[in-house]
Amino acid sequence: MRFGGLTAVRSVDFTVNSGEIVGLIGPNGAGKTTFFNCLTGLYVPTEGTVSYKGTVLPPKPHLVTKAGIARTFQNIRLFANMTVLENVLVGRHTRTKEGLWSALLRGPGFKKAEKASEERAMELLEFIGLAHKRDHLARNLPYGEQRKLEIARALASEPGLLLLDEPTAGMNPQETRATEELVFAIRDKGIAVLVIEHDMRFIFNLCDRVAVLVQGEKLVEGTSDVVQADERVVAAYLGEPFEATPEDTQPATEAESTTSTKGEAQ
């Protein structure tokens, strides 16, 4: 992915398997969020493809969500003036199909679908523990609950792969612990999770596998122990100059950005 002369993500080949929790770490500006944006179609990668369950995804956000990849944002992007319940209902958009006509005619099918959607949304709110605030406006929630609500909204689209961008940013230790539990619970539902985080303890507790992104390139990928032991990771975080010879990158220097994620959920 290039922005003018800046190559934000380069030759990252990356796979998430079903039921896995994978961490994505790297110093500020490494291109982690940009990588997410490429995956979800918010940015059209200059080169490379994203495939999910064996099919290549078009770079259109709504089609990516429909295919089964949902995400949260680093800077919370809830629908601030909608209620908690409405936010989650919007998340169900791709899993419902009542159009304008059925809304205007209000047949039995419409009522059933609305009811089912609401029930499903309430289940999710109960799951994350916000059911008692269903009619509050999202903007009035405390910060930690807003993050949770964003996760519930993403889960409402029934994804096979959930992308979390710094889900514990700005949280206190207890809230971080609770989020950890939440991510495990999400995995237990059979959803693969790819999580960006700067909190190393959080990442190493949680993840089956961790990838390190530095200056847009993947430096190391492996289990927590492997990554923790790797001194280049420490060097990168401490700001040592990084010689671009990572073993994992593809030799073709022309291939600027190959982002390929396979989330083979279920």
Partner: protein, 599 residues
């Protein structure tokens, strides 16, 4: 010589020190309110001038006329609130928060309308010699409640300005209403609907001075009711009795032509309804989906022209064809739909300001194209600037809309017929608006408005749902346009412009939505009623109406950016009051139900 002595600001002394702006004991203040109110009311039974040259005939002893009636009403309202402040049983609901503001504002209402009358008598008849003793009594009597109100004790403030501000402030918290039986709630809604109809019918008949007096009383009284928290209570009431309130609104709207003896006022009514219905359609596009459309009036034009072309008018290109109304309405709506999609498809890929500019361009293209399709500069379809005149009246099953009909002793004239037809179309449009907004598609519109990127990342096909909003709005405008073509007998290109001195045009439609309250049902109708009636009634303003209108908009955006009837979301967006963060109802969208009769 300037010694800088440290004078520590004395902290607001004894807590909750209460005093009035005018130093009077509480008992005296209240007595002034009550006595002044009664005296004001009584003074309207005296003659205020000797000649019946002054409109409304204020010369009759024992019988208030014209502007005196307004003073009478304002005086009575002052008395009611004064009694409520005494804690008279059965009137407590008038002052739920027991604050001073309603008393001050009702007193001001009486004062303002009385002094306006007194001064206009002197001004129009040439000097104060035209005053009668009754005039002096009224002037003094109406001043008393103001003095009394300003003497009411309130928490001490530092400056006079703050003290004055505190006198008209609405309290942060209005106590929750006591539980009342459902039949009482319904009775209250019925009475309010009847009152609203009476006020609207009176206002639409009022001319010149009388209309200004009417405005004075309505503005101050509404403000008083607002500051008392009664509007909040009312919207709570309608929210709990939603269908009943809607039904009463429609009954009141239907009853309106029966209150009128002159068909001219039904003409105003039908134009307001057309204007309001189109504004409600625009509210889908602007208020729900957040798309700033500056060329919306073109869709009204498409509907009107389509209806005119198939109306059987001899000046129509297809003069042989005469569709029945239902077919014409469907054709008009369909033509607008097609135009909506054609214009929306390329433009909706743009966001924000770019979209606004491009829609503005398309709106103007419509008018210019219609102007030129006269067979000289373009194909001969629309007759160019001459338009299509002599559109025949509608006729349903032998019921000719052009004739007067007698129904139960009431004469229903031509415009009243169309008015009733428009009420039906309004009901349809309101139903469509409410159902669409409270559904999956409505939620996706709001989500797009709130954060388009997040919405698409949640799986919403932004372009598609925006196009649906755009096309639905266009269709509804087209539908209203088909009626408007028949009401006005002819269609010409000129009204379908971006901005003009009289509604409907795109700027006025947008203003009606913003003024009334974006994202609500009743807001656009209230906005339309105001924007249509004010230039129509205030003839003196005619050539400066755009200027006045601009000033009014600036003031509104400064003091009440969410519009007169706020949507809960909007209100929170602009004011962090915190009082609304705990929800009362569980509905997804919460427009207060339609309240104004015929508006």
């Amino acid at each position: 010589m300037t010694e800088t002595t440290e004078t520590p600001k004395t902290p607001a002394a004894a807590p909750a020190e209460q005093r009035g702006l005018i130093p009077l004991p509480l008992a005296a203040a209240r007595a002034l309110l009550l006595v002044g109110g009664i005296a004001t009311t009584a003074s309207t039974f005296l003659p205020w001038t000797w000649t019946s040259d002054f409109p409304g005939d204020l010369t009759v002893n024992g019988y208030p006329g014209g502007l005196q009636i307004l003073t009478l009403v304002a005086g009575l309202i002052t008395v009611l609130f004064a009694l409520a402040s005494y804690g008279v049983r059965g009137l407590g609901w008038l002052l739920p928060a027991r604050n001073n503001a309603p008393l001050v504002l009702t007193a001001l209402s009486g004062f303002a309308v009385t002094w306006y009358t007194v001064l206009t008598i002197a001004g129009e008849l040439g000097g104060i010699v035209n005053w009668e003793p009754g005039t002096y009594i009224a002037a003094v009597a109406s001043l008393l409640p103001v003095i009394g109100a300003l003497a009411l004790p309130q928490d001490a403030t530092d400056t006079t300005k703050e003290a004055l501000k505190a006198y008209i402030a609405k309290p942060d918290r209005i106590p929750a209403p006591q539980a009342t039986a459902p039949w009482i709630q319904r009775l209250a809604i019925t009475i309010i609907a009847a009152l609203a109809l009476t006020v609207f019918a009176y206002g639409i008949d009022a001319e010149d001075e009388l209309f200004i007096g009417f405005l004075i009383v309505v503005v101050f009284t509404s403000w008083a009711l607002h500051s008392a928290g009664l509007f909040d209570r009312f919207s709570h009431l309608t929210a709990t009795n939603r269908s009943f309130a809607l039904a009463m609104g429609f009954v009141a709207a239907i009853a309106f032509p029966f209150t009128q003896t002159n068909d001219h006022y039904a003409n105003l009514g039908v134009n307001i309804l057309i204007f309001g219905t189109v504004a409600l359609g625009l509210n889908i596009v602007v208020g729900l989906a957040g798309l700033l459309d500056l060329g919306y009036v073109a869709f009204l034009g498409v509907g009107a022209y389509t209806a005119a072309l198939v109306s059987g008018s001899e000046f129509s290109k297809f003069s042989g064809v005469q569709f029945p109304f239902w077919a014409a309405a469907l054709t008009g709506a369909a033509a607008s739909l097609v135009f909506g999609v054609l214009i929306g498809a390329p433009t909706l890929r743009l966001r924000g300001d770019y979209l606004a500019i491009v829609t503005l361009g398309f709106g103007e293209i419509f008018r210019i194209a219609v102007n030129n399709m006269d067979g000289v500069s373009g194909p001969d379809i629309t007759n160019g600037p001459n338009g299509i005149p002599s559109i025949p009246d509608l006729s349903f099953f032998g019921f000719n809309f052009g004739d007067s009909h007698d129904i139960a002793g009431f004469t229903i004239g031509r415009f009243a017929n169309y008015y009733l037809l428009m009420v039906l179309i309004m009901a349809l449009v309101i139903t469509i608006y409410r159902r669409a907004s409270d559904s999956r598609i409505g939620r996706s519109w709001i989500a797009i408005r709130e954060d388009e990127t997040a919405a698409t990342a949640m799986g919403i096909n932004g372009f598609r749902v925006k196009l649906i909003a755009f096309a639905l709005g266009a269709t509804l405008a087209g539908l209203a346009g088909t009626v408007s073509a028949h009401v006005t007998y002819s269609v010409v290109p000129n009204p379908y412009q971006f901005a003009g001195a009289a509604p409907p045009n795109s700027a006025f439609l947008l203003a009606a939505v913003v003024l009334g309250g974006m994202g609500t049902v009743s807001g656009p109708f209230l906005g339309a009623a105001l924007l249509y009636l004010l230039p129509e009634k205030l003839v003196a303003l005619q050539d400066k109406s755009l200027l006045a209108f601009g000033i009014a908009l600036i003031l509104l955006m400064r003091f009440r950016p969410e519009g007169i009837i706020p949507n809960r979301r909007r209100q929170l967006e602009f004011h962090e009051t915190g009082q609304l963060d705990v929800p009362e109802t569980t509905t997804l969208t919460d427009e207060p139900a339609i309240t104004k009769a015929g508006a």
